[in-house]
C-alpha cells in the first residue's frame, strides 16, 4: 500500500468517527448548543479542552521552535501551561459559579454596563478571528497535500467539515468529537518521539532520554552537553542558554500566561461541567493532557535537531538520506551548494561577519517554472535548484522550515509509513478541534452577546440559535477567505496580538471583577480601554509601522508588551475608581456570592 493510500485510510477512518460522534450527540436546545447542557464529566471535558487548546500551530511548530531556539522556546512551554494555573485558581471556578454562558456576559453584568459588554464582545471576536484564520490555513495545507488539490480547495473542504459539525453539534457535539481528536493527537505526537528517543539515547521514554546520555555510534556523553557542543561548533547559540534578554523572556512568558487565562474560548469550556468542584478537577485533567504533548515537545525538538545535523552536515548530497529530496520537492527544505564541494554544510550566524546565516536572498524559496529547462531546475548533484540568488556573505547552505521538525520526524527516524499517516491525521485533528471550538465561541459572541443582549433583546431561543448558525457560517467564510489569501506574515504576528489583547483587556478586568467588590464600571472600562489601546498601538507600531529595536520600552518586544498593558490596565482601573461612586448593591452581593462554591446549578444563558 502506498503512502498516500495509507493517509487516506487513516484520515478517512478518523473522520468517520468524528462525524458519527457529532451526529449522535447533536444539540437539541440552546443550552446544549452553548454549554452542552452543563453535563459533561470532568475527565471528558479535560480531554476536550486539551484538544481545543492544542492548535495546528502548536502541534506542528512548537517542537520546531524548541529545536531552533533551545532555551528561548521555554517561554512558550511555560507560558502556555502556566497560564492554566492562573486560569484554574483565579478565574474559572468563580465564573462557573456566576453561571452565565459567555465571558462578555460576566463583564456586562458585573460592571452593569452595555459599554463594558460591547468592548468585551469586540475583544472576543477579534481574538477568536485571529486564531481561526491560522487554523483554516493549516487545514488547507494538509488537505492540499493529501488530495493533491490546490490550497484554496483544501481550505474550502476543511471549512465545510468544520461548519458541518460545529453548526449541527453545538458545544455538546464538539466536546465529544474533541475527546476522539485528542486521542489521535496524543498518539500521533508521542509514538514518533519514542522511536527517535530509542534511536538517539537508547531510552524508550523521551523525557528520560532528554536527561540521559547520547548513545549513537557507541558514544556516551550527557545529551545536552553534546547538543551544546555541536551548536557552538557550527556557530549557533548554545542550546541551553538562549539569547533573549531576561526582561524580555520574563515579559513574554508573563504575557502568554495571563493571555491564556483570559482567552474566552478556553474559559467557556469550563461552563460545560456540573459543579464548581468538577471545574477544578476538569482543569487538572486538562493540564495533564496538555502536559503529555508539552513535555514531549522539548524532547522531539532536541532529538530532531541533533539528528538533522548528524545526518546532513558535511554529508555529500548524493549520500544524504532520501527524505531530504522529499522535502525539497514540497519546498520545505533547500540546499544551495555555495562552495561547490557537493557536500551539505549547515552553519549558524556566528560563522559570518554580519551575524546572519541566510541561505538565499528573499524570505521564501522561489522555484523556476516547471517548464524551465532541466538545467535550471536540477543541479549537478540532483538537488532542486532555487530561483533565488544565493547569499554568499556566509557559509550556510541548508534551509528548512521550522515545521519539518515534527512532520519529518518519522522519516528521519526511519519509521514505517503508517506513522506518517497517523501524524497527518493528528495534525488535521488539531486544526479541526481548535477551529470548531473557536467558531462556537465566535458565533455565540455574535448571536448572544451582540444580537440578544445589545441589539435585539426580544429574540426568542430558537431565533438565537439560528443567528448563531448564521454567524458561524459568516465567520467561517471570512476565516476561509483569509486562509486562502493570508495577509502574508500577518498571521504569525496577529498571534502576538491575540495574546497581548487577552492579557491586557480580559485578564485584569475579570480578575478585578471577581476579587474586588468595590470596583465600578467607570474604573473597569477606563482600565480595559487603556490596556487595550496601549498594547495594540505598541504592537501595530513595532510590527507594521517599522519601529526599531532601539525604540522598544526596556527592550520588550511586541510579544511581551501585553504584560505591561496588563499592569497599565490595573493601575488605571484603581486610579479612576474613586471618581465613579459605589457599584449597586446587587452587584456587590453577586461578587460575594461567586466566592461560595455551592449551588452553581447549570450554566444558563438567560
Amino acid at each position: 500500500m502506498s503512502q498516500s493510500m495509507l493517509n487516506f485510510v487513516f484520515i478517512g477512518v478518523t473522520f468517520a468517527v468524528y462525524i458519527v460522534i457529532a451526529v449522535r450527540s447533536r444539540a437539541g436546545s440552546t443550552k446544549e448548543y452553548y454549554t452542552a447542557g452543563g453535563g459533561v464529566s470532568s475527565f471528558a471535558n479535560g480531554m476536550a479542552t486539551a484538544a481545543d487548546w492544542m492548535s495546528a500551530a502548536t502541534f506542528i511548530s512548537m517542537a520546531g521552535a524548541v529545536a531552533m531556539s533551545g532555551y528561548d522556546a521555554s517561554r512558550f512551554l511555560m507560558g502556555w501551561t502556566g497560564g492554566f494555573v492562573l486560569l484554574t485558581i483565579l478565574m474559572v471556578p468563580f465564573l462557573r459559579k456566576f453561571g452565565k454562558a459567555t465571558v462578555p456576559d460576566f463583564i456586562g453584568d458585573r460592571y452593569y454596563s452595555k459599554w463594558a459588554r460591547g468592548v468585551a464582545v469586540i475583544c472576543a471576536i477579534f481574538i477568536c478571528m485571529t486564531y481561526i484564520m491560522g487554523q483554516m490555513r493549516g487545514v488547507g495545507v494538509v488537505f492540499s497535500q493529501l488530495f493533491g488539490i490546490g490550497i484554496p480547495a483544501g481550505v474550502v473542504v476543511g471549512a465545510a467539515i468544520v461548519f458541518f459539525y460545529a453548526g449541527i453539534g453545538g458545544m455538546k457535539g464538539i466536546t465529544y468529537t474533541q475527546v476522539a481528536q485528542y486521542c489521535v493527537m496524543a498518539f500521533a505526537y508521542t509514538i514518533p518521539a519514542v522511536f527517535i528517543a530509542i534511536m538517539i539515547t537508547n531510552q524508550p521514554v523521551p523525557q528520560l532520554g532528554l536527561i540521559g546520555n547520547y548513545s549513537l555510534n557507541g558514544e556516551s556523553v550527557p545529551f545536552f552537553e553534546k547538543l551544546d557542543r555541536i551548536n557552538a561548533e557550527l556557530g549557533f547559540q548554545e542550546y541551553t542558554t538562549g539569547k533573549l534578554s531576561m526582561v524580555n523572556m520574563f515579559c513574554i512568558t508573563a504575557a502568554l500566561m495571563c493571555g491564556t487565562a483570559g482567552l474566552p474560548h478556553v474559559i467557556v469550556r469550563f461552563f460545560t461541567v456540573k459543579s464548581v468542584q468538577a471545574v477544578r478537577n476538569s482543569a487538572c485533567w486538562t493540564l495533564v493532557f496538555i502536559a503529555v504533548i508539552y513535555l514531549t515537545a522539548p524532547a522531539i525538538g532536541a532529538f530532531a535537531r541533533l539528528n538533522l545535523i548528524e545526518e546532513l552536515h558535511d554529508t555529500p548530497y548524493v549520500e544524504a538520506p532520501a527524505w531530504l529530496q522529499e522535502f525539497e520537492a514540497t519546498g520545505q527544505m533547500a540546499w544551495v551548494d555555495k562552495n561547490g564541494d557537493g557536500k551539505i554544510q549547515y552553519f549558524g550566524p556566528a560563522k559570518s561577519e554580519f551575524g546572519v546565516n541566510t541561505v538565499f536572498l528573499g524570505p521564501q524559496p522561489v522555484y523556476p517554472d516547471y517548464d524551465a529547462p532541466e538545467g535550471q531546475r536540477q543541479g549537478e548533484h540532483g538537488e532542486r535548484l532555487l530561483a533565488n540568488k544565493a547569499d554568499l556573505t556566509n557559509p550556510n547552505e541548508l534551509w528548512f522550515g521550522n515545521d519539518i521538525m515534527v512532520m519529518a520526524n518519522p522519516s528521519m527516524a526511519g519509521l514505517p509509513m503508517w506513522v506518517v499517516s497517523l501524524l497527518m491525521a493528528g495534525c488535521i485533528a488539531a486544526a479541526l478541534s481548535t477551529a470548531a471550538g473557536l467558531l462556537l465561541v465566535l458565533s455565540t459572541s455574535i448571536s448572544h452577546d451582540l444580537m440578544k443582549k445589545i441589539v435585539k433583546p426580544e429574540l426568542s431561543d430558537r431565533e438565537e440559535v439560528n443567528y448563531a448558525r448564521g454567524a458561524s457560517f459568516v465567520a467561517l467564510a471570512v476565516a476561509a477567505y483569509f486562509g486562502i489569501n493570508p495577509p502574508s506574515a500577518f498571521i504569525a504576528q496577529t498571534v502576538a496580538f491575540a495574546f497581548g489583547l487577552a492579557a491586557s483587556s480580559f485578564f485584569p478586568t475579570l480578575l478585578i471583577g471577581i476579587f474586588s467588590k468595590r470596583m465600578n464600571k467607570l474604573g473597569a472600562i477606563s482600565g480595559m480601554l487603556a490596556g487595550m489601546v496601549f498594547t495594540s498601538s505598541y504592537i501595530v507600531y513595532f510590527q507594521f509601522l517599522g519601529g526599531t529595536k532601539e525604540q522598544m520600552l526596556f527592550g520588550i518586544s511586541s510579544e511581551g508588551i501585553g504584560f505591561v498593558g496588563m499592569l497599565i490596565n490595573f493601575a488605571v482601573a484603581f486610579l479612576v475608581r474613586p471618581f465613579g461612586g459605589e457599584p449597586p448593591k446587587e452587584v456587590q452581593e453577586m461578587v460575594e456570592q461567586i466566592h461560595i462554591p455551592s449551588g452553581a446549578g447549570e450554566a444558563s444563558h438567560h
Binding site: 522556546a73 512551554l77 484554574t88 485558581i89 550527557p222 545536552f224 468542584q277 482543569a283 487538572c284 493540564l287
Partner: protein
C-alpha cells in the same frame, strides 16, 4: 455562627490557599526557569544529565504546574467539606 461570618472565614481560608499556590507557581516558573536560571545551572546538581535551571524551564515547571492544580483541587474540596459547601462532581 451566622452565615456571613462563616463565609468570611471561608473566603479568608480560600485566599490563603490561593496565595501559597501562586507563590509556588511563580517560584517554579519565573524563579527557577528565568530569574535564577543561570545561578541554578551552575550551582545546583543537574537533573539526570541536564542543567537544573534549563530542565526546570522546559520540563520541571510543567510537572510542578500539574502538582499545583492537584493540590488546589484537593485542598479546596477539603475546605468546602469543612464549611458545608461540598456538593461533589454532580452538583445539587
Amino acid at each position: 455562627m451566622s452565615r456571613s461570618l462563616d463565609s468570611k472565614a471561608y473566603s479568608r481560608a480560600c485566599l490563603r490557599i490561593l496565595f501559597v499556590l501562586l507563590g509556588i507557581w511563580f517560584f517554579v516558573s519565573f524563579g527557577c526557569g528565568i530569574l535564577f536560571r543561570e545561578w541554578m545551572d551552575e550551582r545546583l546538581p543537574p537533573v539526570g544529565t541536564a542543567p537544573f535551571g534549563f530542565w526546570m524551564a522546559q520540563q520541571g515547571s510543567i510537572i510542578c504546574f500539574i502538582l499545583i492544580l492537584v493540590a488546589y483541587a484537593v485542598l479546596m474540596k477539603r475546605l468546602d467539606a469543612k464549611f458545608g459547601y461540598a456538593e461533589g462532581e454532580e452538583g445539587k
